[in-house]
């Protein structure tokens, strides 16, 4: 009788039942598919980069699809000028950084309390969070707008930052939900041990809970950062003033200039000596909107992806 070696693990056993060539073929197909998909995911970035470096004649030349004949960097300076890049960058940075910090603090506190403490009305609060998650912006935007208008908050950073410090703001309920799920899955014993050793609750939170929960914080940090950066609907309502524009809104300036009637284009002809204002300018602008968040993501990507895998959001 044939003996099965103990050393052979189960997956190996399973694989032996299949033809080896077949397995190689399947792996090869899988990689082909993955690379094809990777192309789909990289395409928007490649498109933006390539188009942003094209001259007007390259844009209209169908032979030039991927490699521009000359690298035309003037698109970037033109786009920056039209978008008022430095103002937009300053506003976007202030709003994104403050709102993200606010949501990290307030959402983690709320999520922690809902997961750990038997609070009166805890169920009702959880219900409110789910409701806040489902109610679309459209439904409550009108009273919000009227409220901020009455408080004189329009055209200031406040409507985008203050709600974030109270666990609301853009997608705040989702972050509370994520933190709650995370803390539910975290063993209680650590904190209990700290408390037995005489550690107060604020110190427990800072010294014991926070270090363990780092991965959850990084996940929420990246999500909040990216979403605040690219948020468009609310800023476009609350920040009408050009001085207060966020980068995510400033693409409209280029589009508006592109669509100007020809008789108003006089001032453009001065900066526009070789017909530079075109779709390439728009793509240069788009890329410049994405670049800051792209750089930030590069620093955090490894921890972010590991964090998502570890956070163990089982959704139960």
């Amino acid at each position: 009788m044939k003996q099965i070696s103990v050393k052979e693990t189960i997956p190996q056993l399973w694989h032996k039942t299949r033809h080896r060539g077949w397995r190689w073929f399947v792996t090869f197909l899988l990689y082909m598919l993955m690379c094809g998909l990777a192309f789909v995911f990289l395409y928007p970035f490649l498109y933006m980069l390539v188009t942003s470096l094209k001259t007007n004649s390259d844009l209209n030349n169908f032979v030039v699809q991927w490699i521009p004949r000359t690298l035309f960097f003037k698109n970037y300076s033109l786009a920056a000028e039209l978008m008022d890049y430095s103002t937009g960058l300053r506003n976007s940075l202030i709003i994104t950084v403050l709102a993200t910090i606010g949501q990290l603090i307030s959402c983690s506190m709320a999520g922690y309390a809902l997961a750990r403490y038997k609070v009166p009305g805890g169920k009702a609060m959880f219900f409110i969070i789910i409701l806040a998650l489902i109610i679309p912006t459209q439904t409550i935007i009108i009273p919000e707008y009227l409220l901020y208008a009455r408080m004189g908050w329009l055209n200031t950073y406040l409507p985008l930052i203050v709600p974030a410090f109270t666990g609301y703001g853009f997608k705040g309920a989702l972050y509370i939900f994520i933190f709650r799920q995370f803390y539910l899955g975290l063993p209680k014993e650590l904190e209990e041990a700290a408390r037995v050793d005489g550690c107060g609750f604020i110190r427990t939170f800072i010294r014991i809970v926070f270090p363990v929960a780092r991965s959850a914080y990084i996940v929420v940090l990246v999500l909040a950062m990216v979403w605040h950066w690219s948020n468009y609907y609310e800023p476009s309502l609350f920040l009408g003033n050009t001085e207060m524009q966020m980068l995510s809104m400033s693409l409209n300036n280029i589009k508006a200039t592109l669509n100007l009637p020809p008789e108003q284009l006089d001032f453009l002809y001065q900066i526009n000596d070789d017909n530079a204002l075109n779709n390439a300018t728009l793509m240069a602008g788009t890329l410049m909107v994405v670049i800051p968040i792209f750089i930030a993501f590069c620093f955090l990507q490894r921890q972010f992806i590991q964090g998502v895998e570890r956070t163990g959001l089982t959704g139960e």
């Binding site: 189960i10 997956p11 899988l30 598919l33 993955m34 998909l37 990777a38 789909v40 995911f41 928007p44 970035f45 933006m48 307030s106 506190m109 709320a110 922690y112 309390a113 403490y117 038997k118 609070v119 409110i128 806040a132 998650l133 489902i134 109610i135 679309p136 459209q138 439904t139 409550i140 935007i141 009108i142 009273p143 009227l146 409220l147 009455r150 709600p163 109270t166 666990g167 609301y168 989702l174 609750f201 990216v226 979403w227 690219s230 948020n231 468009y232 609907y233 309502l237 995510s248 693409l251 909107v289 994405v290 968040i293 792209f294 990507q301 992806i305 895998e309 163990g312 959001l313 959704g315």
Partner: protein, 293 residues
């Protein structure tokens, strides 16, 4: 002797919890309950523009009736966004689950693939994405007409109508792929938390890949399936190219028809709630069945 005021341990416990919840409770009152309740009241009337502040003149169900009987723009826009949601939600969930399974299978270069697959998430949901979509970049990627995937001579015998239809379909798929990064990561985290022992015992019992998927992977990720479905429905309804977002902004803020805009918002919410409810019912029943089986 004065009796010292003391809390029981349970009360102290609850109080500590409430301390953590203070900011959230303030926010709930100010930025959630107040706008929600006002919006609901507003939808049954309109603001009194002659007075400072928000005073509401009630008109009963007039706004709701008008939305369906007077407004020729609203119903088509609503149907349009429901249609988009109905197409995109199943596609998003199926594709993100498939991608998550593939990412879980691949060994070599898995870090690189994971980063690349999450990159479109950085384009966000705002103006950048809508700019790319309006330029037709999503259609271009897999476009048959522009020769990207299959050389022209092989598809020349197909009619142009069919080609355009296929291109549109590919466009939708690409758009879905670009926006399914979060869902993919959530599925990936769910798949990785499944115990390998389950798979091993299934393979010993002679199960094949297909059976393993239906009997182990899918039931084990079903709680995440529910979360993902709800998340996808909600984001599909608030996506940047959603026609109603713009419409409510136009009505409520530019034309100052506050009450009517609020009413439309609530009709919209009712539709969302309907879909979320149906999904929660079906998936919830499925995962309960799985648990008891």
């Amino acid at each position: 002797m004065k009796k010292k005021f003391r809390l029981t341990s349970a009360q102290r416990h609850a109080l500590t919890g409430l301390v953590f919840l203070i900011p959230f409770l303030i926010g709930t009152a100010l930025f959630f309950l107040y706008p929600t309740v006002t919006s609901l009241l507003l939808s049954f009337g309109d603001t009194d523009d002659t007075r400072e502040g928000i005073y509401i003149i009630f008109q009963g169900f007039q706004n709701y009736v008008n939305a369906f009987t007077q407004d020729t723009l609203f119903v088509p826009k609503l149907l349009d966004s429901v249609e988009t949601m109905l197409i995109e939600t199943p596609l998003t969930v199926i594709l993100s689950l498939m991608i998550a399974i593939m990412l879980n299978k691949v060994q070599g270069g898995k870090g690189v693939f994971r980063v690349i697959y999450i990159l479109p998430f950085l384009l966000g949901t705002g103006d950048v994405m809508s700019q790319l979509i309006s330029e037709g970049v999503d259609d271009q990627v897999l476009s048959l007409v522009s020769n990207n995937v299959i050389p022209r001579e092989y598809i020349d015998y197909l009619s142009t109508d069919l080609l355009t239809a296929i291109d549109t379909l590919f466009g939708i798929i690409v758009k879905v792929l670009w926006s399914c990064g979060v869902q993919t990561l959530l599925f990936l985290s769910a798949i990785q938390s499944i115990s390998p022992a389950l798979y091993e015992s299934a393979y010993i019992d002679g199960a094949n890949q297909y059976e393993v998927f239906w009997r182990i992977t899918l039931p084990m990720v079903s709680p995440m399936l529910l979360l993902n479905l709800i998340y996808t429905v909600v984001t599909a309804f608030t996506a940047v190219d959603n026609p109603l977002l713009e419409y409510i902004k136009q009505l409520g803020i530019e034309q100052s028809q506050h009450g009517y805009a609020a009413a439309i918002g609530w009709i919209y919410f009712a539709v969302i709630l309907l879909f979320v409810g149906v999904i929660a019912l079906i998936v919830g029943r499925y995962s309960r069945k799985v648990k008891t089986a």
